[in-house]
Symmetry: C2
Subunit: 440 residues, 2 copies
């Protein structure tokens, strides 16, 4: 069972509930079967700041899950930027306004020189949906290669390339899924992934579908967090280009400093994508997304197709986005992600000695995977232990989720302002919870 | 050439520009071929309130175009709601939060009883993309029927059902386009549309694609604004259901009181849709969208497919949405739309006597179409006159756009707080501009 942004191991299931509280009943009445709640006893939140979420019952929770409020919940500088702009001007990009131009310039300056144009959308899903169209127009191919538990968003076209959204169901004919680069289970993951992508691209071509590109996030988040060795994407991108496809770097998860190595996840691997897509942390919660690419590639697409996004590039989003970039710079959040991430990795590796259920601890910056196994030798995924730890950590006042094809990898992805003390608290709590489990 | 949300008659074209100002150059540098600007000399906006937009050069413009800031630009109550919530809590719907439940209840209470569940998205495009998936899952059909110059959004799937986005290009095999209900050119538009939809649905079935549904906005905005006679959608919805399809009411344009007859455009025609989609004016500029439908229909979709939208239903959007509903109620904006709309229609019909270029004036509430013709007898569309009037009105300090298959219908769609004085100003300015044209 994959855990990503739709299917969570710790999802509330009304059929399994012994008693449903009033707040949950209220939610189910309006949102029905579309309700997606965490925990068998869902938590009602009322307030948040920094790394803390405050619940209606007075409890507070350390946030190790939410990567949207990436510079911290309700960061005062982002809040102030939104407050100022929302009372001044909030309009689309068919009129000029200097805020959106300033944002585009700031953002593009952080990207490789070849990535010199930007399209602003409202969500990462919209950005990926558009990137698929651009890749198809540029290559004439229809087919895409993704990893097996990839998740790239929620539109019809993007759901097709998100096997995690449709577990157990056949892929669309134009989609091929390959194994993620899992160094825990096999050596040389970059070469393996490159060979698999090349084979899949050849198969798509042979079947007359053509090959448009390979899309991945460089931390392979929903595949279970696979970040090493640094540089693994090099041979993959070569294979994609040898097959005349585009490499789309989905930075919705690793982007905006999370890996502690650079602002962008792809940069950590030393590759330059053809298209970069952006989402979640871009506005620290203000809805915004984007697609960055070379001007010629965009012009070729626009020669045939037009694209306009009403909310994309509105000045309130741009102001929020500018504040996010300011905060990442002024608070040294990339360095913090690296330093605190390393500290957290080390702490988790230390307790791993005492817990046979911890099969692997891996990560980059503040994106860490802790894989739980039923058998260390056989490396058997243990989703039941992951669920127990998620519930145990909730009792310890820590919010966390899981990822990977079996949902057996805890996904540690806190706001980038996480401190060493916060990290120590997570390590202690993991230790406590695992000690309390029969299998821990 | 259609005018809708992508292709505008008055779009800036860098190839036609004799001189490009610094602000435009700056925009083109970052946004390249994806730039979509109005006017051959685009306007830089710096501030807005109510029905007014203020430009960098000190001029101000009466807004007769923008339907997103529907209760007025930077409305103080919406601004205050966003300012308060953005500093308190901004998180997704996997935790409970009372603001989003309050919003859902308020919104659902305005819809027919059978429409009792809501899915919140970030944009109208996302809402329509999801509605297509729901309709396919519910019917087993793949095909959709739309009107000839329909525009429903910008995702890959929604672009397929938006002929206006791809003028002159063949439709996807699963899409059929029918003539809009144009009372100016033919009588009995409801019966005609019903027959055309029935025929298209039968054709889709015969070709093995099946029929999933018919999607339309009830003012046929991008088709050139067709609103009469009241009730025209009755036979159409009957035809859709007789063919076992769903009727999706795209309320992105007519919703939230614009027609002056009811909060929802479909209600004016006395029909109950299977799915209602929402967007643009929902948050008065705060990005939000939604899909409302019967709980059983949603449950059937969710039994096979999951859907989660990270930004959809965040409490800041919900707070903005609540404020919009409050303002519509407390300021009597539906009544105002009807009263001022009627006054504006009457004023425009009066000047029509003096201008042979005005072929037709039609509308409901504050959604009015003024169709310009080269020959009143032949009713020949006159896009060149429409362009001249758009540019002339800009010099008069009025922002307006055009719609319809030839872009010959001025689309009058101001904020709902438009006053009689504002309306009089529009009538006078139209009169002045038309007098100044050789053909006026």
């Amino acid at each position: 069972m994959p855990d990503q942004d739709i299917l969570a191991l710790n999802a509330f299931d009304p059929r399994a509930a012994t008693a449903i509280g009033q707040a949950v009943e209220r939610r189910l009445r309006s949102f029905g079967a579309g309700s997606v709640l965490f925990y068998q006893e869902p938590i009602e939140m009322v307030r948040a700041e920094g790394v803390w979420l405050h619940a209606a019952d007075g409890r507070h929770y350390l946030d190790v899950y939410n990567n949207v409020p990436s510079v911290g919940h309700c960061h005062p500088r982002v809040v102030e930027a939104v407050r100022r702009q929302v009372g001044t001007l909030n309009i689309h990009t068919r009129y000029l306004n200097a805020v959106v131009d300033a944002y585009a310039e700031r953002l593009l300056a952080t990207l490789p020189a070849a990535i010199d144009n930007l399209v602003l959308t409202c969500t990462g899903s919209e950005a990926n949906d558009l990137a698929l169209r651009v890749a198809r127009a540029a290559t004439g191919g229809q087919g895409f290669v993704v990893t097996r538990t990839a998740y790239h968003g929620n539109t019809a076209a993007v759901t097709d390339i998100s096997p995690a959204s449709r577990p157990g169901r056949p892929l669309a004919p134009h989609v091929r899924a390959v194994a993620p680069p899992d160094l825990y289970r096999a050596p040389d993951p970059g070469a393996r992934l490159a060979a698999a992508v090349a084979e899949a691209a050849a198969d798509l071509k042979q079947r007359g579908l053509g090959f448009a590109g390979f899309i991945a996030d460089s931390v392979f988040s929903s595949d279970g967090v696979h970040v090493d060795p640094v540089g693994l994407l090099g041979p993959v991108v070569e294979a994609v280009r040898a097959a005349s496809g585009l490499f789309i770097a989905d930075e919705v998860q690793p982007g905006f400093g999370r890996t502690g190595a650079a602002l962008w996840g792809f940069a950590r691997h030393g590759v330059v994508p053809d298209i970069v897509t952006l989402g979640k942390p871009m506005g620290n919660g203000f809805p915004m997304g984007g697609m960055a690419l070379n001007a010629d590639l965009l012009a070729a697409f626009n020669a045939e197709d037009k694209y306009f996004n009403t909310f994309g590039g509105n000045p309130v989003a741009a102001a929020a986005g500018l504040a996010v970039l300011d905060v990442i710079r002024d608070e040294g959040l990339i360095d913090n992600a690296r330093a605190v991430g390393d500290h957290l990795l080390q702490g988790l590796r230390e307790i791993a000695n005492a817990h046979v259920a911890i099969g692997d601890v891996r990560g980059a910056g503040l994106f860490i995977g802790l894989e739980l196994v039923a058998d260390r030798e056989a490396r058997t995924p243990a989703p039941a232990i992951a669920t127990a730890v998620i519930e145990g950590l909730r009792r310890e006042g820590i919010l966390i989720g899981a990822a990977g094809p079996h949902g057996s990898t805890l996904k540690i992805r806190p706001p980038l302002c996480f401190s060493r003390d916060n990290a120590d608290r997570v390590v202690e709590a993991c230790d406590t919870v695992l000690r309390g489990l029969p299998v821990g």
